[in-house]
């Protein structure tokens, strides 16, 4: 069952408009232009599609909020600032099937009453940027973008905007600030972007993968989509498998797949013996072999104490030290914290310091309690998801691999030989 990769996985498929149209591209847009916005909203709501960026907010509801707002102009923004370590799914769509995204954004604009859209693309996605720009030009030439699209009264344009390498700009409000030319830092929510977004105007902001589902829903109906995979969060998901796995890469699978199946059937099995899985990149909590039977949809992973996020499944085998892993995760967040709120800016720094100390054999038992408290308070008080989730991996490592921390602290030993403990530093 392929929705998003159905074209890409076809042999010889090129990211140009002719290939896309040959496979039925832009038919959804043609259909949509003959529908009423309420009709489109109703299909999307029926599909039970939820956002694929990580927050899993119902897409139909989001569009409806903005549609009903009587403040103009409205905007459509695509979050293509894919930055979570272990995530590389949006890149595939951007580089291999850009018209899928463009078509979806035009449909969104038509539905909510927006005439302008932006794609905020990760700065390092050089190829994606080029391909997308070319695709936008093509779509303009075919009047899928521009004035009076396909003879209708509806006009829509899309501009590309390059990020400058800040992870936090994947957070929607930081992205909007960056898009407005400001420093990318999260805003106070509420108000949410659906009402007060780009230039303080109502804005629908969706992830690339979320948009990529829209044409299918328009063409085949929301009802049908809602029956695919998981009943809680229907549709397929692009899982990004990486780490100690035999067959790393992107796998599109309906979301009722179990973790076991994901790793064995699709991932070709774990290299070495499985120790843990980060199901949603470094901002998610660790799963262990005991969690292999969970369903890899949003509620399933959440029940196991973690989060699916953008679907960056990082597989960890028994050669890895969890102190080292926790430290590496925190190091990332310390580097990427925007620096605005105290708990995140100072908390990530101190957590890193404590973990480096433990890894070097300078830790004390009290450090563990302090780390736990720090995690709770960062989760409770940080301004945005970055700080709230920054110590998720640390928390889960402490819960599930406590003995390894104890080894480092009490016995001054890293049994994996990974940490600098006991070595000349």
């Amino acid at each position: 069952m392929k929705i998003i990769l159905k074209n890409i996985e076809k042999k010889g498929y090129l990211p140009d408009i002719n290939s896309y149209m040959r496979e039925g591209g832009y038919k959804a847009l043609k259909n949509a232009l003959h529908m009423k916005p309420e009709g489109i909203l109703s299909e999307i709501k029926k599909s039970k599609l939820v956002g694929r960026g990580g927050a899993a907010f119902p897409t139909g509801l989001k569009w409806e909020f903005t549609y009903k707002t009587k403040d103009f102009p409205k905007y459509v923004v695509c979050n293509a600032d894919e930055g979570e370590p272990g995530t590389f799914k949006d890149r595939l769509i951007l580089e291999k099937d850009p018209h899928l995204l463009i078509e979806a954004m035009v449909i969104c604009g038509f539905t909510i009453g927006a005439e302008e859209g932006f794609i905020y693309i990760r700065g390092e996605y050089f190829k994606g940027y080029e391909v997308l720009q070319k695709a936008i030009d093509e779509a303009c030439r075919h009047n899928f973008l521009g004035r009076n699209i396909l003879g209708s009264k509806f006009s829509f344009k899309i501009s590309l905007y390059k990020g400058a390498g800040a992870y936090v700009c994947g957070e929607e409000t930081a992205l909007l600030d960056s898009l407005e030319g400001k420093k990318g830092q999260s805003r106070v929510k509420p108000p949410f972007p659906t009402f007060v977004g780009f230039n303080n105007k109502p804005t629908v902001l969706n992830n690339v993968e979320t948009f990529a589902n829209i044409p299918e829903i328009i063409l085949k109906g929301g009802e049908r989509f809602s029956r695919i995979g998981s009943s809680f969060s229907p549709g397929t998901k692009l899982y990004c498998l990486s780490g100690d796995i035999n067959n790393p890469g992107i796998h599109e699978i309906p979301m009722n797949v179990s973790l076991q199946d994901l790793l064995e059937r699709y991932g070709g099995g774990v290299r070495g013996s499985l120790k843990g899985v980060l199901p949603g990149g470094v901002s998610s909590g660790l799963l262990t072999p005991r969690d292999l039977d969970i369903t890899m949809d949003y509620p399933g992973v959440q029940k196991a104490g973690s989060m699916l996020g953008s679907g960056a499944v990082i597989v960890i085998n028994d050669k890895h030290c969890m102190v080292d892993l926790a430290e590496k995760c925190v190091e990332f967040f310390d580097y990427e914290s925007c620096g605005k709120c105290t708990p995140c800016r100072e908390g990530t720094k101190r957590a890193k310091e404590i973990l480096i100390n433990i890894a070097q054999g300078k830790g004390e038992l009290g450090d563990i309690a302090l780390l736990k408290e720090l995690q709770e308070i960062m989760f409770d008080t940080s301004r945005c998801g970055l700080g709230q989730a920054a110590l998720n991996a640390v928390r889960s490592a402490l819960e599930k691999f406590y003995d390894e921390f104890e080894d480092h602290i009490l016995r001054k030993k890293c049994k994996f030989g990974v940490c600098p403990i006991g070595k000349d530093i």
Binding site: K183, V188, T342, R350, I377
Partner: protein, 576 residues
Amino acid sequence: MAELVNLTIDGYQIQTAKNTTIFEAAKKININIPHLCYHENLSIYGACRICVVEVEGRPRLEPSCATIAENGMRVKTNTARVRRARRMIVELLLANHPEDCFTCESNQVCELRKLAYDLGIRSLRFEKGRKYHYKLDLSSPAIIRDPNKCILCSRCIRVCLEIQAVGAIEFVNRGSKTQVLTFFNKGLNNVECTNCGQCILACPTGALREKTIVDEVWEAISDPKKFVIVQTAPAVRSAIGEEFGMKPGALVTGKMAAALRRLGFSRIFDTQFTADLTIIEEAYELVERIKNKGILPMITSCSPGWIKYIEHFFPDCLEHLSTCKSPQQMFGAIAKTYYSQKTGIEPKNLYVVSIMPCTAKKFEAKRPEMRASGAQDVDAVLTTREIARMIKETGIDFCNLQDEDFDEPLGISTGAAVIFGATGGVMEAALRTAYEVVTGKTLERVEFEQVRGLEGIKKANIMLDGLELKVAVAHGLSNARILLEEIQNGTSPYHFIEVMACPGGCLGGGGQPMPTNFEIRAMRAASLYREDEDKPVRKSHENPAIKKLYEEFLEKPLSEKAHHLLHTTYTKRGRY
């Protein structure tokens, strides 16, 4: 009527206007939620996270300063969860903070230190010691920035941009490398900073402070060759009492003079003497501009922060400025010429100290234009806070001092000069004199209430016989900007505008005691107007010492000598 919402805070039912924050609502039941980045005059930043509270039904703690009160909301501001979070957040800030409270300028006023104490933080669990070794910004003659003590609350950035419309500082870098810096780290003296010092008042720690020259002044006082005279600005007497625990607005003119004498200054003079002189020169200049169809509106030039602002941001409007020097600089020029001649003390042995509510005055004294006597006219400028520290250093029991008088002749002033310290005061003083200059009649009622008060821009039409004089008064540079844009657009209807860089005028200056807030500014203003009322002479041109100065030395207002000593020129600085 405004829409109301009902909510519960800590079990108390509260009714509050729609769109108030939880923080504001909590004040209604007398809870002042601990905070750092919140500031009553500035936009909401919501970043320190210290003011977090529990809101029933929300998964996380919410920042009370940034969360709007909603109907039916149930808020708890004081739970174990909240207290634990606040403590840790402050602990995180402390982990980064230099542990030099003993020697820190802000020791007595530091909000971080107080908060750490109030929250019961008695040990630090994170790695101690200084983590940063940032260089201090010492470029400015007025303000020192110490990035090591900065907690990134953005209050300085916001006051600079929102209240002063300057924007000399901003955040740079990301994460724990975030810093508040000037443009390309050029230093405050090399960007559009006006030296107004409002950032110092806004700073909760010791990251911003005046460049102190207390020791130079002590040295001069102990130098037997030096004859050290001191002048005090009007706004100082309405505020310095606060440094000694007195009520805001306590008027301590006599105690201040007594304390200064005890510190060892040879003569205690008053900037108000030259404030009267400024008024006469400025009133005559205004009348001349109106008569000769000169450039109007004319704008006052007493506030050095304001002068630097217009030089940077509106260099094309400099001709609108009165050419009069500020009272501080007129004093320096008169002291080192007239007074020197009168007493036979050589100018090089005369050391002029001024006590100012202002940090920008430190910059003004060093301007190359301010050397009418041949050398720097004012040798040292101390803020209200600095002179208070000198008094404390000696153990003088300020509050119990018997009142003493200023010395003659440069200590004699009128009520018109006292009100220089409040926004609208220069305007009112000038009107008292201009009225009599223009009409030749006696002004019976000297109060011009239209130009008093703390409203951002005040406007009035004043009848001078047949002549209708349109005037405006602005304080806070963002308000001044509005009036200047009118001038640029050619829509300014005014003849005369008073601008003071700081909110409230000099009494809210960057060198004043902390805290300085709206209520305190109002109380200081009230005391200045009280002093004006009590003065036997309330019009500048009736000051007997000033009359004598003209007779003996300056000849007449706007004379050649007056021009040489009392008037100045301005520099087109532009932007960076």
